[in-house]
């Protein structure tokens, strides 16, 4: 059964550094998403992406964040200058007929 995959599973970075989180959505899906979950808090929507552009973004998704689909398979989330409060689990999802399928997540730790 096809799955959403994410790499790396764990990323440790220094504050102020750029990170890129990678996702490979399910191949025939058209909508892609990033969510995050800070430890002990709710899963929060960051951004949705359709037809090579952002379709919706949350207040969290400020100028430090960007998304890209650089080729036909990858979907990336870039954080330009990480802050301590960016430490969280980041989930990628893709959807088909209003059902979202999630990847295993990348745990980002900012020191």
């Amino acid at each position: 059964e096809p799955e959403v995959t994410q790499t790396p599973s764990h990323q440790v970075t220094q504050m102020g550094q750029e990170v890129i989180l990678r996702c490979v959505p399910i191949s025939n899906h058209l909508y892609f998403y990033w969510y995050r979950q800070i430890l002990g808090q709710k899963v929060e929507f960051l951004v949705s992406f359709y037809n090579n552009e952002i379709s919706e973004k949350s207040e969290i998704f400020d100028d430090q964040f960007s998304v890209e689909r650089p080729d036909g398979s990858n979907f990336t989330l870039k954080i330009r200058s990480t802050k301590l409060e960016d430490s969280a689990m980041y989930f990628c999802a893709s959807s088909w007929r209003n059902e979202q399928f999630f990847g295993p997540g990348t745990r980002l730790t900012v020191l």
Binding site: Y33, Y35, K42, V43, F45, E56, N98, P104
Partner: protein
């Protein structure tokens, strides 16, 4: 803005006990409703969903949920839990026009064998 409330943060049950996890949402329009489960060390998986039609929906692993529009609720049930149901359960909603999921805080279920 939409919000989702899950009433219990931690639930501990013995095997074979019945389960009901509460979920209420705030959005007054037409919604799609979901329950996701996250087993320890695994990713979010869809348990069941409601888009329209019969308000009692059945999902995987013997779970079901009932949509009660007048109460803005979508409670999850299972008549007899197993140790393997130990996991965190998330209720989520999207409005019909949008595609972002709004999640509840999650309920951690521990089933004692």
């Amino acid at each position: 803005a939409q919000s989702v409330s899950q009433h219990n943060h931690h639930v501990i049950l013995s095997e074979a006990a019945s389960l009901e996890l509460g979920c209420n949402y705030s959005y007054g329009g037409t919604v799609n409703l979901f329950w996701y489960v996250q087993y320890p060390g695994q990713h979010l998986q869809l348990l069941l969903k409601y888009f329209s039609g019969d308000p009692l929906v059945k999902g995987i692993k013997g779970f079901e949920a009932e949509f009660i529009k007048s109460k803005f609720s979508f409670n999850l049930r299972k008549p007899s839990v197993q140790w393997s149901d130990t996991a965190e359960y998330f209720c989520a909603v999207t409005d019909r026009g949008g595609n972002k999921l709004v999640f509840g805080a999650g309920t951690i279920l521990r089933v004692k064998s």
